[in-house]
Subunit: 534 residues, 2 copies
């Protein structure tokens, strides 16, 4: 992976309704051009929505004077905290029907303020939605329902400092509200990095990654943020706790693992000691083309079972490969990357290419050495990867319905699962819209015992009912995942959009335990109501 | 690691009071010889205790006819299930003061029987102690207190089958009561292995490993059983649940991680889908001597931070090295081992030896290649490792007090921690006995951000108060670990002996959540009372 560009000092404007920076949004002409590729799309893009067109009322609760300086009721802030950044959220904004606008946005700067805000909210029946970068694609940061007197978005991004660095143990204490570039900027002068680069890197925070068990830099091995946690500080309505910073512990069930993935429903993660890494000195990458996607799956499985541990091992099906420019001949493409701070990686890449060729892959020459330029397919993929969410919003403006979802399953189920998703979700999209849908697949993370497929569905919608179409597609996806016993999410989290699938998947004794934990830690039920558990 | 000898078909007699097989116990002459090395020890060994000398009363509860065939009240079975195999347990047996003898021993053969036994126990106020191989060294499988009408040991070892093997996903569904050799015998014909080889391998079960988060085969990377779990089946008094078998999932907090380490307090783990591995084809090992233990720590840290991922990376301090015959000149010894099923490992060993030499290590020539004989220090260490618990019991018969405890801490704390344990625990042992104590240390598992030191304390006791001396030593150890923020256990579990340290370490919000989960899953409070939470 290349260095992710840092924007912490930049004054670029963030979009309140769509992905990322407003100056990176595709313009009307680019939107129109994209729409021309999608049968049934609009001829012109929907206009960009304005906050001033929203009906934003007076807040239904007022914080006490001692907390007033932490809280705003400004319409712009409230609109920007009303939803996450799923397609469903974007299209609701485009159609002037955003989710419930929060009454207040709080921006605490320390742990005590978080505790004070929770105390006040608990006393007054105010729902609290913890909010990091707001990049949730699963309805994780909005309020649905009407059982609370008011709603307060708890924006943690003012708590964004690296507080301590322990070079002996190569770890750092970092506040949860630090966006990806903000924390990397502070680690870089020490020669260290967290190396957690989700697609949302610029627009998501450490706390958000932890609360949602975000997928990270590595395609194999420690694929998620969970494994890099040394300790957590969590502020709950029932009190604050900090786990000891330990490289490992067998003292009872892991206290951190209860809060990793708790999505703000059990407490607010305010800081963490995280395991860091040195910046890699050695890199090598290459891509391999496969005429047959199922042979490519076999190759990936062989590599995942080896000791080679690629940092990148991303298999693109022919549609994904075409879209990103990684291939133009109907081939699937496997993008391989190796990195190390300490040892040369050329040999590992060579071994991986041998395994790929043994399964029918046509490998190009590797591009080894330190900071060697990646090959064209690798580069093409990478730029498309970071641009994709912006393009999705452009497609939304053209009346398209776009859904991305991801899962994981054991290898015995992967081939049939991928085929079933293509067939059934494609059929559901056709039925809902009358238009043929594109369903593409890539593997984002791979394991010795299984893999994590990521699907993209795009189809022209019908005006005004895009949300309903999206809901139909989501329901079809959840259904096929459930029947194949593939998880409702590998790294996007549950939020509100995945609750039906999650409830079916979760073992009942764990549901009992989680509900009991929720009642104990959040007795007034103010924390992110509706997420994970009722 | 060599193949661990399998004994599943053997009819060798297990000791009810001491470690392992009776025919492997050191004889009186060997005990006497060991005692001669310990200033202040007895001249002759204490006699081996007999079940017939115990006062074992009538059981205080009788199971209903439908369950009667699963339950025994035979004195031999009850005595063998009264305690684990800590020194504290062994010396209580030697002194004729074992822990509370359970009223009944149940041996269910399927999930429904486990549920039925829990139902009956809940209705009648009978405490249930889940029991695998009974090798707990932390008081994890005994009853203390008097708040239950009766006590039933729930022996899972009749549920010991590998039920399914999925070669496509390289995983297997295994019943929790399978002892190490029993499950490996069933996997071997498929060319697969779980590769979980704790010191207790022959005398502990899959369910015990899972319930205690046991330390496994690997010195680096996935060091504990936790990481090899695909799914768990857990029978609780509130119902049975099975998590989906997944290579990874981000759907809420991990349901499995709540039960991993729950030590029988939340439910009975009855089976698991486990990730397997191929048997290694390539091995290479070597040992490195260091004149200075602290330089050796630096070498280990450098190796732990590299990508080399040794399977074995065990650092013995001079006392440990002397005891095991790995060195005789006061050197510390680092035992390194690499293994792979797919790729040659000679290069990784060479790189690791280079790192060790850069920190002052004097490396011997590596012994590479497939199944190459390990070098003498490696072999010496290995045989001592498996024999050690038997020797401990021999020392106990000579009136010695022996305690082993282990921990983990970040690297910044490791040097001072090791020095403090040596000094303070040694002083506590001297104060309690009037005899000089031996305190040895080794690192068993290492991480980029820290390490897991394992300590052995041996000292001549005072007749009849060995338990009290051991308690003093344990308290001193817990105290120094607490002050250095080193975990009360890295892989031995909490049980009852570590409760004071655990209670100080556990964050309060997690304690609230765990207590709530316990109340929800075990409303009659019958499951392993006193473990983890009250």
């Amino acid at each position: 992976m290349p260095a992710i560009p840092s924007h912490s000092g930049a004054a670029r404007a963030r979009s309140w309704w769509g992905w990322g920076y407003t100056d990176a949004h595709p313009g009307d002409a680019e939107c129109t051009a994209m729409g021309a590729l999608l049968p049934g799309a609009r001829a012109r893009p929907l206009p960009i929505p304005r906050v001033t067109d929203l009906s934003i009322g007076r807040p239904a609760a007022t914080p006490p004077p001692a907390l007033a300086h932490l809280v705003t009721a400004a319409p712009e802030a409230r609109a920007a905290h009303a939803m996450g950044k799923a397609y469903r959220d974007v299209v609701r904004a485009l159609r002037g029907r955003p989710g419930r606008i929060p009454d207040l946005v709080a921006r605490p700067t320390d742990n005590q303020q978080v505790a004070d805000l929770l105390d006040w909210a608990g006393e007054h029946g105010v729902a609290v939605i913890p909010f990091g970068g707001g990049s949730s694609v699963v309805g994780g940061v909005e309020y649905r329902g009407d059982t609370h007197r008011a709603v307060m978005s708890l924006d943690l991004t003012s708590m964004n400092r690296v507080l301590e660095v322990d070079t002996a143990s190569r770890s750092a204490r970092i506040q949860a509200g630090a966006l990806g570039p903000v924390l990397e900027d502070q680690l870089r002068p020490r020669g260290l990095t967290l190396r957690h680069f989700p697609q949302s890197f610029e627009f998501s925070t450490l706390g958000g990654w932890l609360a949602t068990r975000a997928g990270g830099h590595y395609a194999t091995g420690h694929t998620r943020i969970d494994d890099f946690v040394q300790s957590l500080r969590v502020v709950t309505p029932a009190g604050t706790g900090t786990s000891w910073r330990l490289p490992a512990s067998g003292a009872g069930p892991s206290p951190d693992r209860l809060f990793l993935g708790s999505e703000g429903a059990l407490g607010v993660i305010t800081e963490a000691w995280m395991r860091l890494q040195e910046r890699p000195r050695y890199k090598a990458s290459a891509s391999v083309a496969f005429a047959d996607f199922h042979h490519a799956l076999d190759a990936v499985r062989a590599i995942a079972r080896s000791d080679l541990a690629p940092a990148n091992c991303r298999l693109l099906d022919p549609g994904e490969a075409l879209l990103s420019g990684a291939s133009h001949d109907g081939s699937a493409v496997l993008v391989l990357g190796f990195e190390s701070a300490t040892t040369r990686v050329d040999g590992r890449l060579t071994d991986a290419l041998d395994l790929a060729r043994a399964h029918g892959g046509r490998g190009k020459a590797p591009t080894p050495g330190r900071d060697a330029p990646a090959d064209a397919a690798v580069s093409a993929w990478r730029s498309t990867f970071l641009r994709m969410p912006y393009l999705r919003d452009g497609l939304a403006r053209m009346g398209a319905v776009v859904e991305t979802f991801e899962t994981a399953a054991t290898w015995d189920r992967i081939p049939a699962l991928v085929d079933a998703v293509r067939g059934e979700v494609g059929a559901a999209a056709l039925k809902a819209t009358g238009h043929p849908a594109t369903v593409n697949c890539r593997l984002t993370h791979v394991y010795p015992d299984g893999a994590a497929p990521y699907f993209t569905v795009a189809v022209a919608g019908r005006p005004g009912v895009e949300v309903e179409i999206w809901d139909d597609i989501k329901a079809a996806a959840s259904d096929v995942l459930h029947r194949h016993r593939a998880t409702i999410t590998h790294h996007h989290a549950v939020g509100r959009d995945h609750r039906p699938g999650y409830d079916l998947q979760r073992p009942e004794p764990f549901a009992l335990a989680l509900r009991a934990a929720k009642n104990a830690l959040d007795p007034h039920r103010i924390l992110n109501p509706g997420v994970l558990i009722d």
